[in-house]
Symmetry: C2
Subunit: 342 residues, 2 copies
């Protein structure tokens, strides 16, 4: 460490007034120098920027937000952070928001009540928008956002919402494709692991799978579990074994769930996958490519979801009266070792 301890001089941060004085112009000119497309002469701008850099001036975002009635803060309400997929999604969203000049304010919640409360709090901050990836908020909150002109984007929900845009991956399509893959492989039994917990995206996947199976007159078995977690996947495995099916294709609507199923089948029940049975998941979390798992799954396009979210946010901000939109992004199946090569 340097021997000369820098004294912690608590000097007040430079304001636009200080910069104006130093540059020999009025404060308004300083403001204009930092506002793109504003009417200012090149020499004035240069003088201001020079003075600003000398004083290490930075515009006070609180004052700016108060004046413009809009901060560049964006609420980010998420639940279930323990799911690696969610962490990846947050990472992508946060980076994208920052890259576009916004600042994400993070709320980690459990349950709908907390979601509503968080959004309500967010409204006090003149946020530029709110992104929700947790349990869907009550409609009342949508109206509240609309009243205050706050764009609302909901990720991974399918229900129609007033004044809110949505973006989701092609959940039903993934389910269908999983069923098709099993049928191509020649699996006799199609098995769907279906959580009781109602989460739109997850339900849509199972629904797509079931419909495809039924419309092709396949034998379909449903194993009900409480939620789409690793532990539920383990329980599903016990349930599966007790039915002693042969040549089955099992679709788990979540990688976590699939990994629980897979792990229990191999480690506990000694199953040989994919010889005895095939398994497909959904999300493509990093753990799915680990050696023990080597899980065939659907890759969610986290980057595209983030990019689309920002487009929706900004376009609705430009035109609040715009019709609600729902964007569905395609998913791609990543074939690994829990299905047969073809």
């Amino acid at each position: 460490m340097s021997p000369r301890e820098q004294p912690p001089q608590r000097k007040h941060a430079a304001t636009s007034f200080d910069v104006a004085r130093r540059a020999g112009v009025s404060r308004a000119v300083v403001s204009r120098a930092f506002t793109p497309g504003s009417s200012i002469s090149p020499e004035s701008r240069k003088k201001v920027l020079q003075a600003a850099s000398e004083l290490d001036y930075r515009v006070n975002q609180m004052a700016r937000a108060l004046n413009r009635k809009r901060s560049d803060l964006v609420g980010l309400v998420v639940s279930d952070m323990a799911n690696p997929y969610r962490a990846a999604q947050i990472d992508a969203l946060a980076k994208r928001l920052v890259a576009d000049g916004y600042r994400p304010v993070l709320f980690c919640v459990d349950g709908i009540a907390e979601t509503e409360q968080s959004i309500s709090l967010l409204l006090n901050y003149s946020v530029s928008g709110v992104v929700v990836t947790s349990g869907l908020p009550p409609e009342a909150i949508c109206y509240k956002c609309a009243e205050r002109n706050v764009p609302l984007v909901i990720i991974d929900r399918g229900h129609h919402y007033p004044h809110a845009d949505q973006v989701t991956s092609d959940n039903a399509g993934g389910g269908r494709e999983a069923a098709a893959k099993f049928m191509r492989q020649g699996n006799r039994h199609l098995v769907a692991v279906e959580p009781d917990l109602v989460v739109f995206s997850v339900s849509a996947r199972v629904e797509g799978f079931k419909r495809a199976a039924k419309s092709n007159r396949c034998e379909l078995t449903v194993i009900r579990v409480s939620d789409p977690s690793y532990a539920s996947g383990q329980k599903a495995a016990d349930s599966f074994v007790s039915r002693s099916m042969r040549n089955a294709g099992v679709f788990c609507p979540t990688d976590l769930c699939a990994l629980g199923f897979l792990d229990a089948m191999r480690t506990k029940h000694g199953a040989d996958i994919p010889q005895d049975l095939s398994v497909i998941g959904y999300d493509d979390i990093p753990q799915s490519s680990w050696e023990f798992a080597n899980l065939t799954t659907f890759r969610q396009p986290v980057g595209e979801v983030a990019a689309t979210t920002l487009e929706l946010l900004e376009s609705r901000f430009a035109d609040p009266e715009m019709e609600e939109r729902q964007v569905v992004l395609p998913v791609r199946m990543i074939e690994r070792g829990t299905t047969l090569q073809q």
Copy 2:
């Protein structure tokens, strides 16, 4: 959906002035009604609260922040979100911050340059504090924070920093305890997987392990890898096998790394653990308790880290001149199936 579409009336949010008029008092009284410990008569307060709830009044946090020269925003700078331990830490920190009345502003970064840039941006928001869990920032940034009276808490770094408090788990202690466990078990060879990438917390664990081994004159082997990731763990396994050691105890400074090692040893090299060798990790991420892994590891006290972080933040806010503090929290070994029961 309700048939009566609520019209999106863009009425401006109620201000304290509106509330004052409705309650028949002055605006100052409204402010006092919402400021605890302020001098106001009970009947005035009641009138104000009544009017406020009727108008759905909420104080404008931007104006409040501008006036108080301090928002309740707290910067949260993190890297390596792909590590489930990091996600858990963020979850705990975010929840704790919100519970204490703060709002976390999330910056997901890669590398030190981005960290510095993020903190620099944060300074424009009159933040109440900054929490850094990513690569350690340059000292200059510490002085900048101190100048602006912004408390800075650094998580999981050991280096001394000016004007910044630190909180970390007992990394060296964990390493020592891992070595002790192996010795109690009667392992002949002690093996440390050591990443080249310098991350303080990780290095401290390995250092603690190596010292304990040396001071007990154990045979110590170091396997060098690039970083503490799952992939590096796999590579370490290849390297380990090529040395054909028997009765070894392997310490991986990260669960991700340990799981990579474990997975490769079992799945690829057919090792029988813990009969052939023992493995201990660090972090206790959820995946470590999965059946395939069943990894013995050290549980990081994410909740306590979060609580301590807030204490440090708030106390330094109260007294900025306070001496820098470094809090070390104990870790607990969770014994599972990759070590011998005793």
